[in-house]
Symmetry: C2
Subunit: 443 residues, 2 copies
């Protein structure tokens, strides 16, 4: 009986494997996509794009046992050749190619010049050719960093005793009801796509104490801005037995500290490709909502309008103020007005017009909404009634509270927004692999 016993090392080597061993003078096999060919006459530089970076290979007329014309840009190939130390090569070595095996060839020339360092094209063109534009080394690096953020989120929370859950995206009712829901038919019944795992993660606090989920959420909002998506990845957690809503901010700060450290350790190459210095996370200022509004109005001589909400411009100014006056990239804005928060938000006992809640702004953009939730069954019913809402469709959610729930709270982080400001982009689509917006449903 033939058996499979697991992963065995490949004969073809990755960049890190060549760097880790001293293979100077040795014959090696490497594969990759032909990123560029620079023909200098008797020699030619063929740069292979590999998952770990770009690898300089050298074709030498009379030495390489094939015709340079056989190699096309965007082909995938396997070279065999000799490792040679070469100071001028970006990696400090190059491969002097002996033989080639063509693995695949393109049918047509590239629609974009992906081998340029900076992909010099419009966002529209990038998104229309997503499978191609992401082959650009800088574009690709953005999503490696996005991986690092998600990975940091999970690894940090595993270490803090959280359990990962997978909650359904199809539902009969939404966690927060009402507008902005995509609707569909589910075997002759009306259904919706969840705009948040809110109800589910709260219910699971009664089971696991601390839970998190990283998954898609869906919002049928008709916003067409640089910071809105109709489908995005939400990093959600919810934790029980909190002493105060500051525990939640502390956990988020811990996540950011862990993740920036992870990026600097394991994604240093990508940070360098994009010229990014990770933001400070050792201490994050917190300021009350009303105080932040006042500070901004004063410093920037701005009219104080709607006392119950922050306009996007005000968020930007809060970011600017805290950067200028405190050198802070992040700021927690706390105690949002109750009327602007969902029914399950816990009101501040000291002044119930405000809530024990917060947003985290990153360089003036809201990337997180969180706070303490009501855990008392009757209090929840009372607040639902006071808002003139119905409990219909919330029976399962309410049952968790009816049968006992600890004090708890949590938050949701927009992965693409966090990525966007980390990589210094101004449009959230730049930080989304395949964005979904009012106009875009493909690719």
């Amino acid at each position: 009986m033939k058996v499979i016993t697991g992963v065995t090392p490949k004969e073809t080597l990755e960049i890190s494997e060549i760097l880790a061993r001293d293979l100077t003078g040795c014959e090696v096999r490497v594969n990759g996509a032909v990123h560029t060919i620079r023909d200098m006459g008797e020699v030619a530089f063929i740069v292979l794009r590999k998952r770990e970076g770009l690898l300089q290979c050298v074709y030498e007329e009379g030495v390489s046992a094939f015709d340079l014309k056989e190699i096309k840009e965007a082909a995938t190939v396997e070279f065999s050749g000799i490792v040679k130390q070469e100071e001028r090569a970006p990696l400090g070595f190059e491969i002097r190619v002996r033989t080639v095996r063509i693995l695949s060839e393109p049918a047509e020339p590239m629609p974009l010049q992906i081998s340029k360092w900076k992909l010099n094209t419009s966002l529209e063109a990038k998104l229309n050719n997503r499978a191609i534009s992401l082959r650009n080394v800088q574009e690709r690096a953005k999503f490696r960093l996005q991986e690092g953020i998600t990975r940091g989120f999970r690894d940090f929370l595993y270490g803090q005793g959280f359990t990962e859950v997978h909650t359904p995206k199809l539902g009969a009712k939404s966690a927060e009801g009402g507008a902005n829901l995509f609707k569909l038919e589910y075997f002759h019944r009306p259904a919706i796509l969840q705009q948040s795992p809110q109800f589910y993660k709260q219910m699971m606090v009664g089971v696991f104490d601390r839970v998190f989920e990283t998954g898609p959420v869906f919002r049928a909002e008709k916003h067409n801005t640089k910071r809105h998506l109709n489908e995005y990845t939400s990093l959600d957690f919810e934790m029980g037995y909190i002493d105060s809503f500051e525990d939640i901010m502390a956990m988020e700060t811990g996540f950011l500290q862990y993740t920036m450290d992870l990026l600097n350790r394991e994604y240093a190459g990508e940070l360098e490709i994009l010229g990014i210095i990770t933001p400070r996370t050792d201490e994050i200022p917190q300021v009350r909502f009303d105080e932040a509004k006042r500070m901004v109005a004063e410093k920037y001589d701005r009219q104080f309008r709607n006392p119950f909400d922050l306009e996007p411009e005000e968020e930007q100014l809060i970011g600017k103020l805290f950067k200028e006056d405190y050198g802070a990239d992040f700021v927690f804005v706390t105690h949002y007005p109750s009327k602007k928060r969902p029914f399950y938000a816990m009101d501040d006992p000291a002044d119930p017009t405000y809530t024990l809640s917060f947003d985290l702004l990153f360089r003036g953009l809201e990337i997180t909404t969180g706070g303490q939730r009501i855990h008392n069954y009757q209090e929840l019913l009372d607040k639902i009634a006071a808002r003139g809402m119905e409990t219909e469709g919330m029976e399962h959610y309410l049952a968790a509270f009816k049968h006992g729930m600890p004090p708890h709270g949590g938050l949701g982080i927009g992965l693409e927004r966090l990525t966007m400001h980390l990589i210094g982009e101004e449009n959230v689509r730049e930080a989304t692999l395949f964005p979904r917006d009012l106009n875009r449903l493909e690719p």
Copy 2:
């Protein structure tokens, strides 16, 4: 300015913190949900349910500074008390309670006896009261193991040079077209929910070489069986530069080895709670589809019917045969007939009526479908044409091939099915936090 500096240790202790330090005789604070109260007269055992397990606390009349009647089942409390070594306690110690702080109280008695070791109720009742039934220690342990599987999948693949991606669930067309798609309206345009990240992960092989995704997939199938769900979590990967489709099976075997090891290391408590011994993964037999059919027909004296498909009963018998004859829990069935595989499957050059593909059966149940894909643009067009299919809606997918793609392949693993057979259940809903099926859209 007030600042948040990260996570600081709680004054209340978790079980592992008490076990790690010698706190005998010390006063500690612990919190949790009141799981059971056993009143013995002058003393009472109050078992707290904490995320790490059950903690035995002892109320002593005259010593504990409160009335036992204050403590209700399903309340959440914070006790302060003295740690005492006690051999008869499940953890080897107990807490002699001095004072209590009630954190929350239930409004009504429990609908299920969750404190029983085995929750003695129907699947329907469990699912109807999901937020409650999962508080049972055995039920909860199942989903801790499910976390371990997902975690093992990701951690193993990170180590193998894979990049994690988030692909959209809303689309204009499906990866594999046709039936079984949930349809919805997307800002006055028709849209679907993806039944697989297939097209996206293949496109991303041209970018990252190796990619994976763990996320929800949606299937509008009208199957009402013990092994079908209409929404489930798919563990998907796709890898470039493969030498053969056996590379994919080797990677999956590596994942299973890594994950079983992780479960035995980090989830030993949960394995013990459920009485699970992890299956052997050191070597996994592989057998051709036609050969497996023949073996089963012969051994179990079974009529050889449809030569192009495996019936569920045949899969079960293959599982049985390989268990009986080879002691194997897993078996790779390879070379499925081309007509039963999607257009992008690579046909076997040695006999194009079969494909370079496989299913992985776990105890007679298909938990994975995978294989090598066509990477040549023209070959892909030819196969699409030969099947009488249209390329409309596949332009973006095909563009990736037009501009060069390495030889590649991948697979998708049904997380709930893998969990179900690991925990020894017969219905996939037992391994799904909130199942979605023909009849169930709530909770």
